[in-house]
């Protein structure tokens, strides 16, 4: 048995690879087979993470395993889909048994938390990169899209923003912080929990949704463009964690919350009446409103437009 054959056997033995609802045939044949209940549609998303671009060289493989699956499953949450399965295409420079055991452990832990089964994959030799493709289901016509926001809707997010961006100096070892500050930031970076329950709750209620990966303002721009509306974000309503404020100070923390990526918290638009009818999931923050027009505007507490210095976000990238 070759080393890559060993890897496949190793992954096939993981608890998350033992099938599950909707999985007819898992790892080991030319294709996996899934089935959908009548009236449901399949949601599919693919994400690639490359070493030195999306995660630091020589990072903890267990954390990488968790993160590589979480960022992909988050796209299912953004559609309001129920997770079914995932494939992982792993390109590795060499085969280290310890690295693989830890990576598979992290992947398995996140898979069990999200209720998603490993159904297949591919292992190749090359520079370290990971492509995860996730599969979920949603009742026909009820998946949340980016394109349905209407003027008058409220703009909401599903939790604190900026923690993952704030974690970067800790991830890169450039700074340290006391545990009560470092832990919530690092947790958001390394094991963001896809907001699956929130997404499913929003089906039939939210008019548009996505998960924040490029940064709040950039991602609001995606909703505005897809929906043909303008979004107004009220800076003082943007939720910032006490840990992030303690680590960066108030101003830089807000900047991270507005422009930092990798939080994988949901942003969505919802008619006001629908929001009040939602069972309180305890995480929703209203941060603005949908208006006629186009683009995204940011307002301060006095109702003045602010132009943040940096609106976009470049994912973590090491200088070569």
């Amino acid at each position: 048995m070759g080393e890559f054959e060993l890897i496949r056997h190793y992954f096939a033995a993981a608890a998350c690879a033992q099938g599950g609802e909707g999985v007819v045939l898992g790892i080991g044949d030319d294709c996996a087979l899934l089935e959908l209940p009548a009236g449901e549609q399949l949601a599919v998303s693919t994400d690639t993470l490359v070493e030195g671009v999306h995660f630091p060289v020589a990072c903890d493989p267990l954390l990488l395993g968790q993160r590589s699956l979480a960022v992909a499953v988050s796209d299912l949450a953004a559609m309001g889909a129920d997770p079914i399965g995932f494939t992982v295409a792993l390109t590795l420079p060499q085969v280290g048994a310890d690295w693989l055991r830890q990576y598979a452990d992290g992947l398995n832990r996140m898979a069990l938390r999200c209720g998603v089964s490993l159904i297949g994959g591919d292992t190749t030799r090359g520079p370290l990169a990971i492509t995860v493709t996730v599969f979920g289901k949603a009742p026909a016509g009820q998946a949340l899209r980016r394109s349905g926001a209407r003027p008058g809707d409220l703009l909401c997010v599903g939790g604190y923003l900026g923690n993952a961006a704030g974690a970067l100096p800790l991830v890169l070892g450039e700074r340290t912080a006391p545990a009560e500050v470092a832990e919530p930031l690092l947790a958001q970076y390394w094991s963001p929990l896809p907001q699956l329950a929130l997404g499913q709750l929003l089906r039939g209620r939210a008019t548009a949704a996505l998960d924040i990966s490029d940064g709040l303002l950039a991602d609001c721009g995606h909703i505005a463009k897809a929906s043909g509306v303008a979004l107004q974000v009220n800076a003082e309503q943007v939720p910032v964690s006490p840990a992030l404020q303690a680590f960066l100070g108030q101003e830089a923390a807000l900047h991270a919350a507005l422009t930092g990526g990798d939080d994988y918290v949901l942003a969505f638009t919802v008619p006001e009446a629908q929001l009040s009818s939602l069972p309180d999931p305890g995480v929703i923050h209203v941060i603005g409103r949908v208006l006629e027009g186009q683009g995204v505007t940011l307002r301060d507490g006095q109702g003045q437009d602010i132009t943040p210095a940096q609106r976009g976000y470049q994912h973590f990238r090491e200088t070569p």
Copy 2:
């Protein structure tokens, strides 16, 4: 608009990205959405190709576009599935407009030939690698697996073998050949045509199937193992193209047909009565038989067992 945003727009404009049967929502949201007719199951497969491992450095991007999709769709053929869609995760060292235009052109051509729609993807910066995930459908319970071969079944393949392995010295520029020899070999390497029609014809008839990617003997080993049977291959029945014989000579051509990878021709087992009831697709060659036992044996014209010098196959790999 950033360069990667441009790429996404570029792919979204391709003819194969304009939706199709089963595609509810294509490129541009957090997930694509697919629907299945009642009674059908979804077939899924993921393949990664890495530069310098699965294809030569600085190869023709149009050919690479064709090949990167074909090898993935071939897994749908092996299951007898009807193709629906695919995602492509593209990792690129830099963004060259010419390269991308040609790559997308090749991808688009193969997609239109196979009747499969581009439904999503991801573009990242890093060493050149391509992960394609394909989606198809098959009536519940009718997808072809590797595990159903039974003693007494015939072992068949869907066409000439060894052409892709024979093409390698041409692909690498180590040898040249007259056009009538080079063209069929290079075509099998760069744009293998997934045997979708054959796979669909075999549903309900073949007892096991796969597409030959690792080499005939190695892949027969996969069927033997999954089915708990032995396979006997008769060397003189293995189909070898006139071009391959002209290029390599008879003995080396047979060796390439037995052990060379990357042909993406179907191998399958079928009860004798089913085979004679098949409408003749003009490509089926009986090359052996399923027996009680385990493993794969190779027989010469005198019924003697042969042990080939090399049974496995290492995909193309450049020395670093």
